[in-house]
């Protein structure tokens, strides 16, 4: 292994394009993914503002929107169909281009090779390709905002027949939906290439002494996520290709006979809309864990660092992550309890869905046990890690209700579901990303972020997300359906004050994210210079300068002697032992 790493040496490019654009350096590619996610998350957030604004002030004129979409938002007033377009693009951006990119491809690309003592990813060219394919995918998705017909209105899940019969089905279902399908297919390719790279790198490029059980939990999380990506994105890719064929080549994978759309009898037969749902959710449920497992890794890691304690139950956490990864492939049917599939399948799917809460609960308890008795340092990073534990528990408990098919009969498709998944995969994963940002920023950019701005950002965000997403659970109990652009016939009108409260909370919480954005860019240039190891952390990225040299270790080959989380025992005035500290146990090769 070490031999291969030695042969892998390459020299730093000097030209601007090879250095910053078509770079092969995992650190640059990691940053590229990170900024792609930052751009996507802010666009997605603005779209969610528009969605929330339309729900409570349907007649308000939004500046500039009329020019962007004269048909969807004439004069800047969002039409009901444009509301659906906005939420489709919001969901797609957030799930794919934020939750799937930054935690895994962003931080993973940046930190994984350094943390395992490698000079780069196993396949640097493949790495570059996977980013640029993902970038093309984002371009295809964003371009739907500018095509004449507007973006698709079928939601991020794109259920056929709505997504498969073309523009007859409604605005955006022509060119917009085609671009959507192409975008997701491209995204799948990018993710598959990335996953191959992550797995190979972790298996092959670990330095001397870095046994699997000495890896930081972040590396375990990225490895497991990569395996999930490899197995699930392949299926989504197939589904997207079939959808593109149904739409453009006259096939009928997802379309049954006798469809009468907009007064026109369709010339399709033999397909099933449920086939799409099975393929989509076979990807879609592991996807939830693709979004959150890297967060598990980061949170386990930083809780240990800032509690000055070894992570409690390292082996148990690894086992739980593996169990979650395996089980995540057996639960997709819980999205389909009421889809018309066999009710016996529904019953069966509910069993692993409930069982998966056991490893998730164990991991949450171990986080609490890690914090217990520690010497907590309340950096912004630590605040977001503690916040992660809180929102993950809150969101996860909503899953106990939705995992039961009989309760799903009432709760399915209501705001309870919206509150649940935003809390558990949206907010929790984003808290993981914030924790990762505040943690690795000094290494990535060689400067410290501003802690005061960071704390302000944390407090508004933490209180804000509870104000936005907790009430969604309440109105879900009233049976309020999601994806309704307004509430006619007085249905649910009494709940409008709750909606107003959530919208105002969303506007404030969203605005607070600009504090983060300012802090990010200001600190990049004006922050105080970062030392090599500002957090007194033990892992390999903190043994190299901030930022690290091109080949990470300056031509040296690190050797690992210790586990990743040796905190607490004070030697020579330090309460931690670097993984590379030769004192103590000998390296295992």
């Amino acid at each position: 292994m070490a031999m291969e790493a030695q042969q892998h040496q390459h020299t730093a490019p000097t030209g601007f394009i090879r250095k910053y654009i078509f770079s092969l350096d995992h650190k640059v590619i990691g940053k590229q993914y990170y900024f792609l996610a930052i751009a996507s998350v802010f666009l997605g957030m603005v779209l969610s503002w528009l969605v929330r604004i339309h729900l409570v002030w349907p007649n308000v004129h939004v500046w500039g929107l009329g020019a962007l979409s004269p048909a969807g938002a004439p004069g800047g007033v969002i039409s009901p169909e444009y509301y659906l377009s906005l939420l489709t693009i919001h969901g797609t951006l957030m799930v794919f281009f934020v939750l799937t990119t930054a935690p895994q491809a962003g931080f993973g690309n940046y930190a994984l090779p350094i943390q395992i003592g490698a000079e780069d990813m196993a396949f640097p060219t493949l790495n570059m390709l996977s980013f640029w394919v993902t970038f093309l995918a984002l371009c295809a998705l964003v371009s739907t905002l500018f095509v004449e017909d507007g973006p698709p209105i079928s939601g991020w899940t794109a259920y056929p027949p709505l997504s498969a019969v073309g523009s007859l089905a409604g605005p955006g279902q022509g060119m917009g939906q085609n671009l959507w399908a192409v975008s997701i297919a491209l995204f799948c390719i990018g993710s598959l290439l990335g996953a191959l790279n992550f797995i190979t790198t972790t298996v092959d490029l670990r330095c001397k002494g870095m046994t699997l059980m000495r890896m930081p939990l972040t590396c375990w999380a990225w490895l497991i996520t990569a395996i999930l990506s490899l197995l699930s994105f392949a299926v989504l890719f197939a589904a997207c290709v079939l959808l593109i064929l149904d739409r453009n080549a006259g096939t009928s994978f997802f379309l049954p006979s006798g469809l009468l759309v907009n007064g026109q009898l369709q010339n399709h037969s033999g397909g099933s809309p449920l086939l799409w749902q099975h393929l989509f959710w076979f990807f879609g449920h592991p996807e939830v864990y693709i979004a959150i497992v890297p967060g598990f890794g980061v949170i386990s890691h930083v809780l240990s660092v800032f509690s000055r304690k070894p992570v409690l139950g390292y082996k148990v956490i690894v086992t739980c992550l593996l169990a979650i990864g395996f089980l995540s492939f057996t639960v997709w049917g819980h999205h389909m309890f009421l889809s018309g599939m066999s009710p016996y399948s529904g019953f069966l799917f509910s069993i692993p869905t409930l069982i998966i809460t056991i490893p998730a609960t164990i991991v949450s308890l171990l986080w609490l046990g890690t914090v217990y008795g520690g010497k907590l340092r309340f950096t912004t990073c630590m605040m977001f890690a503690l916040g992660f534990v809180s929102v993950f528990v809150t969101g996860g408990l909503g899953g106990m209700f939705l995992a039961q098919p009989s309760l799903d009969i009432f709760l399915h498709g209501t705001y309870f579901v919206v509150g649940h998944f935003h809390m558990v995969m949206g907010v929790a994963a984003i808290f993981g990303m914030f924790a990762g940002t505040y943690f690795w920023f000094p290494k990535m950019f060689g400067r410290m972020m501003n802690e005061r701005l960071g704390k302000i950002h944390f407090w508004i965000t933490f209180i804000g997300v509870y104000c936005i997403f907790m009430p969604m659970h309440f109105i879900g109990l009233e049976g309020m359906p999601r994806r309704y652009s307004s509430f006619v016939n007085d249905l649910m009108q009494p709940l409008m004050p709750v909606h107003k409260f959530m919208t105002i909370a969303a506007l404030i919480t969203g605005a607070a994210q600009f504090i983060f954005l300012f802090n990010l860019f200001w600190s990049m240039y004006k922050g105080p210079k970062a030392p090599e190891n500002p957090w007194e952390s033990t892992t390999l990225e903190w043994t190299v300068p901030s930022p690290p040299p091109f080949d990470n270790f300056g031509g040296k080959h690190p050797v690992v002697y210790h586990d990743a989380y040796e905190y607490g025992d004070v030697h020579n005035g330090k309460d931690y032992v670097m993984q590379t500290d030769p004192a103590g146990q000998p390296a295992k090769s």
Partner: protein, 267 residues
């Protein structure tokens, strides 16, 4: 900072639990025979989840309050008593027993709705969903529905259901825009869609089912309260999705008989 976090988290936990427990926002009053059992199951899950929620959040708050590092402090760290083992056991026992309870006790509702066939004397009504309306068909005196021919649907001629006029089974069928059923009588709906995936959701009845084109999906329930209820489409079906609704009217047996005769005369 840790103390502030503990205070804020305690407030969030208390307010959240208080709002749930106050039942200010809560299920609409149940109006079907199986709904009570479902609400009961929700309550059982709620109690289990609430205990976990309160313990976890307050535990996190307490640790953040207590274990903050002070400058120059030399106190040693403390490992969780018993290590990871007892936490694993706690999770296995607490969540495990919760799961067993919910799966094997709570599945009765699901089984009653989906595993057991509808009562033999159920009133059968066919539902046809399309962008963005529901239509309902009663079988008439012969008790039989004719087939649906989507190609024959012609709204200008009032043929909303795709009925073949020459088909003997369809002759006495009654097509309506409202679903009316007698109270306390089992109903079996046969759900069909002519175009998109739709949903059939009546919160008060505690029923919901996706409607999928190409499949006829049965759904049975027994309404127990006279009243008029919204039927909402709850599966995104296009630009007018939010306008797609109909009414379910639960009537006394006499009113229902009058209503169905009146509807028959309108065909």
């Amino acid at each position: 900072m840790g103390k502030a976090f503990a205070v804020v988290l305690t407030i969030i936990t208390t307010v959240s639990v208080a709002i749930f427990v106050s039942r200010h926002w809560w299920f609409p009053e149940v109006a079907s025979a199986h709904g009570g059992a479902m609400d009961h199951q929700f309550l059982e899950t709620f109690v289990g989840a609430a205990i976990g929620f309160i313990l976890a959040q307050l535990g996190l708050a307490a640790f953040a309050w207590k274990y903050g590092e002070r400058k120059g402090e030399t106190r040693p760290i403390r490992i969780f008593p018993g290590g990871a083992k007892w936490l694993v056991v706690l999770a296995l026992v607490y969540v495990g027993s919760e799961i067993i309870l919910l799966e094997f006790v709570g599945q009765k509702v699901w089984a009653a709705m989906y595993f057991t066939p509808p009562a033999a004397d159920s009133l059968q009504v066919q539902v046809l969903a399309g962008q963005f309306a529901f239509y309902f068909r009663y079988p008439g005196p012969d008790g039989k529905f004719g087939p649906i021919h989507t190609g024959k649907i012609d709204e200008t001629k009032g043929n909303f259901f795709g009925i073949d006029p020459s088909d003997p089974g369809s002759k006495d069928d009654i097509v309506t825009v409202e679903l009316a059923v007698p109270v306390n009588k089992p109903v079996e709906l046969l759900l069909n869609s002519k175009d998109m995936g739709h949903g059939f959701y009546v919160p008060e009845m505690r029923i919901q089912q996706d409607i999928v084109p190409g499949m006829e999906i049965p759904l049975h329930f027994t309404p127990t309260k006279i009243g008029k209820y919204d039927i909402a489409c709850n599966q995104l079906c296009g630009l007018g999705h939010y306008t797609m609704r109909a009414f379910l009217e639960v009537m006394s047996e006499e009113d229902y008989q009058k209503w169905i005769v009146e509807q028959a005369s309108l065909q």
